[in-house]
């Protein structure tokens, strides 16, 4: 609050609802009462003070730092595992402090919950206080207007009453809230105030912060999201088992997701002509809310999710599924696309095919799919670009026991390395006796010594699709909008007061018979208020002298 000269009275009082004892320039608190209730009240006042809020804000900023410096589980589990491998002694200690889950850590929650308790406490006294301020009339005119930060004096020829009435209506027209009072010595005063929106904006902003926190919490409790990799021609329906990854909110029962089905018809990646830089990704999907056959089409793109009443569908990534046909020695045919995972920006992708039903032995394939085969690379592992200009498949064929019935979970994108090392799964031999490690193009096939054939038919594309709900998202957006509005009001509007005192001058009855003194005061921003005060006084003066 503006520090005033002596004599200005309580002119600057109640210009804001900053908690008392907190505002710069306020007096230190008096003697402290004792007793448990007093202690409680004192701690509460302490918690809801500006100083505590400042401290907690600061703590919040500092507490977020480790979340950006250390790998986080929520972002990338693999990086966390790497960190554990590199720092075997330090990592478990950090883990015990939840530093790999900073934003879900109890101490992080402690800080922001305390901050919001403080905020709610603070608001619970500031909101009613501001409500009262909105009803209150502007305060009395200080005795010594010339001691205010802004002041001026002039004389006019008109009567006190006339001048006062004219300036009164002028101020009202300029949307000041005006209060007229008479003083004992016959003087008339006007107290005018403007800019209540500043405080309103400030409170709106802080209230919206609280709503935002609740909205975020709502998403955390009732929201969920899942990702699934879908190959062209395939689809999925909403059930936890069809997802590759499922992240439920704390109160979400994964067994009872609302039914929702999606089918991927076609995926296309567009490239900048002559380069391998992607320019667009399009996934043409059909969907249905409900367990019905998906029928409604949607053109799903990055930055253009499908938003239905509750569920939202996003396109997050893409890759290739080579289509491979294997015929085992008994004549059984296994054919279909298998999704391979991109290893780099050229979309050279790794993956595996597992055929536990092949006879006489189980068959496993692993390898690399290159959309744009580098002719110089004889192993066929390198791709020149992500565009499927010259697809190639570099593949190894294994025979033996895949170990799928052992109960231990396996990645679908690789064969069990332990079993290969243990020779339970062996690299097969080609018809000419060389090991079954080949590079083949679309339509080509290889024949193994035991009569198995493996054909690379071609490829399809897959899209990584995220499905999810966040019931807090729309409320969060709404409160964010209110926050900005509140901030704009709070930081752009100035709360200010002006006073006028009209007293009869000595030369009563003659010209220049009314002495007009004016004073003004604004919270902050004295530079900007100066010119406005000048304008107010000038229009008061100008409006009169002509008529006087």
């Amino acid at each position: 609050m503006t520090v005033l000269d002596r004599g200005a009275g309580d002119a600057g009082a109640r210009l804001s609802t900053v908690p008392p004892g907190d505002a710069p320039g306020s007096a230190p608190p008096g003697p402290v009462p004792a007793g448990p209730l007093a202690l409680l009240r004192r701690s509460w006042r302490q918690l809801t003070s500006m100083r505590t809020a400042l401290l907690l804000l600061f703590l919040l900023a500092v507490a977020a730092v480790p979340g950006s410096v250390l790998p986080q589980r929520g972002l990338n589990q693999i990086k966390v595992d790497d960190y554990f491998a590199q720092h075997p002694h330090l990592a478990p200690v950090l883990d015990r402090l939840s530093l790999f889950d900073t934003f879900a850590a109890p101490w992080f929650a402690g800080i922001y919950l305390l901050l919001f308790v403080s905020l709610i406490g603070c608001l619970s006294s500031r909101v009613p206080q501001h409500g009262r301020a909105l009803l209150r009339r502007p305060p009395d005119t200080p005795r010594h207007l010339d001691r205010l930060p802004q002041s001026a004096e002039f004389r006019t020829d008109a009567e006190v009453e006339t001048v006062a009435a004219s300036i009164h209506s002028g101020l009202r027209r300029a949307r000041w809230r005006v209060e007229r009072r008479a003083e004992a010595d016959g003087a008339v005063t006007l107290s005018a105030e403007k800019g209540y929106l500043r405080e309103t904006g400030n409170l709106l902003f802080h209230l919206a912060l609280v709503v935002l926190l609740f909205a975020i919490a709502m998403g955390g409790l009732f929201g969920w999201k899942a990702t699934v990799l879908v190959t062209e021609g395939d689809g999925f329906c909403d059930s936890v088992s069809s997802y590759d990854a499922f992240e439920p909110g704390r109160l979400v029962d994964g067994q009872h997701l609302p039914p929702f089905c999606v089918r991927l018809d076609d995926f296309t990646a567009g490239y900048v002509p002559g380069t391998s830089q992607p320019a667009s990704f399009h996934a043409r999907i059909r969907y249905a809310a409900g367990a019905a056959e998906p029928d409604r089409p949607y053109d799903l793109r990055v930055n253009s999710p499908l938003r239905t009443a509750g569920t939202r569908v996003y396109l997050l990534g893409h890759g290739f599924s080579p289509v491979i046909t294997v015929t085992d020695p008994t004549g059984q045919v296994f054919s279909g696309p298998s999704a391979f995972l991109p290893a780099d920006a050229t979309l050279a992708s790794t993956g595996a095919v597992k055929l536990p039903d092949a006879r006489p032995k189980q068959i496993g394939l692993d390898g690399v799919f290159t959309p744009d085969r580098d002719p110089a690379d004889r192993l066929g592992l390198r791709s020149l670009s992500p565009r499927p200009l010259d697809p190639g498949l570099s593949i190894r064929v294994y025979e033996g026991d895949l170990g799928l019935d052992s109960g231990a979970p396996q990645s679908v994108y690789s064969l069990d390395a332990g079993r290969i090392a243990a020779k339970r799964l062996r690299l097969a031999a080609l018809a000419d006796g060389r090991p079954a490690r080949v590079v083949i193009g679309p339509g080509q096939s290889v024949r193994l010594a035991d009569g198995t054939t493996v054909r690379f038919d071609g490829y399809r594309e897959w899209a990584r699709i995220q499905v999810g709900r966040d019931p807090g998202q729309v409320p969060a957006l709404g409160s964010a909008a209110v926050m900005v509005l509140g901030l704009l009001l709070s930081l752009r509007v100035r709360r200010r007061r002006v006073w006028f005192r009209f007293s009869p001058a000595e030369s009563a009855g003659g010209p220049r018979r009314t002495l007009v003194a004016a004073g003004g005061l604004a919270r902050d921003d004295a530079e900007a208020f100066g010119p406005e005060f000048v304008r107010v006084v000038q229009s008061a003066q100008g409006g009169r002298s002509g008529a006087g």
Partner: protein, 340 residues
Amino acid sequence: MPVDAAYAHLSDNLLIATILAYAAAMLLYAVEYAFGDRGRVAAAAALTTPDAARVLVGAGGPAIPPSTGDTPTGGTATDGAVRPRTAAFGRMAIFLTVVGWIMHLGCLTSRGLAVGRAPWGNMYEFAVAATLVAVTGYLVLLSRQPVRYLGAFVMLPVVLLLGLGGTVLYVPAAPLLPALQSYWLWIHVSMITLACGIMLVGFATSVLYLLRARYERRTAVGRPVHFPTTLGVRLPAADRLERLTFRVIAFGFPILTFAVIAGAIWAEAAWGRYWGWDPKETWAFITWVIYAAYLHARSTAGWRGRGAIGIALLGWAAMMFNLFGVNLLISGFHSYSGLS
């Protein structure tokens, strides 16, 4: 859309010319500042607006005693003795700033024409755009208030950022990745650029405040002042610098807030979540919270002044770290820098 090589080349050349013009302007500002004792900068700075207003209003009535609140203390003089030669340096500096600004605008525009999109798609372009906002802000301020004393202090970070942009961060003109093709991203980055440019000016005034406040504290008790505190001689009163800083940051903060929100809206569409504590987001959060703390501190007993300004400087440091540190040191989701 393919890249237009002629425009791209023009843009690169204009960048170099801009840096040269700004660097020269910075030197001239510094010369005027250092040797222009009682120069226009000092004289103008001594005339605080509230007092000017008082004189104006008071003219019609009896004399009004000057208030004590807003007059600058010590150091500055109003005797109006202008040393023409140093003032000429200052005018030259402004001329070069304006010339540099035109080329700067040209550099950004031709880059935009070269790539056929808004020219803030990677860190290099971002640095060029943010500094353009800062210089624009300085020139706008200059047209309204006598703030030439700010010149050298704004130009220094601008030249550094542009230099860094042109060397370390430089990436050749190229179109955007699909995830970056979104008008919310366009809004997000425009607003961040704007906020960043404004906060740069707030950073400069904060540093000046610290210099001046230290100068005032020392001269008040008659202690000797040494470089760099001596630079405070020719600055406006610390009070005024403090309020100027507040006005600048209070102007930038809602824009920063909106920028972060626009980023969240874009992230929701591109990645399926509006906030994910990716390092870039985390540092945006940290920056925002620190600037909020600054605004708080200004209304907290015992914090207005040095304490609050210190927080404002931290806010700027966090903002710069988010711009450079996060992209270069911590890899995140935001594959935005164009460097790999």
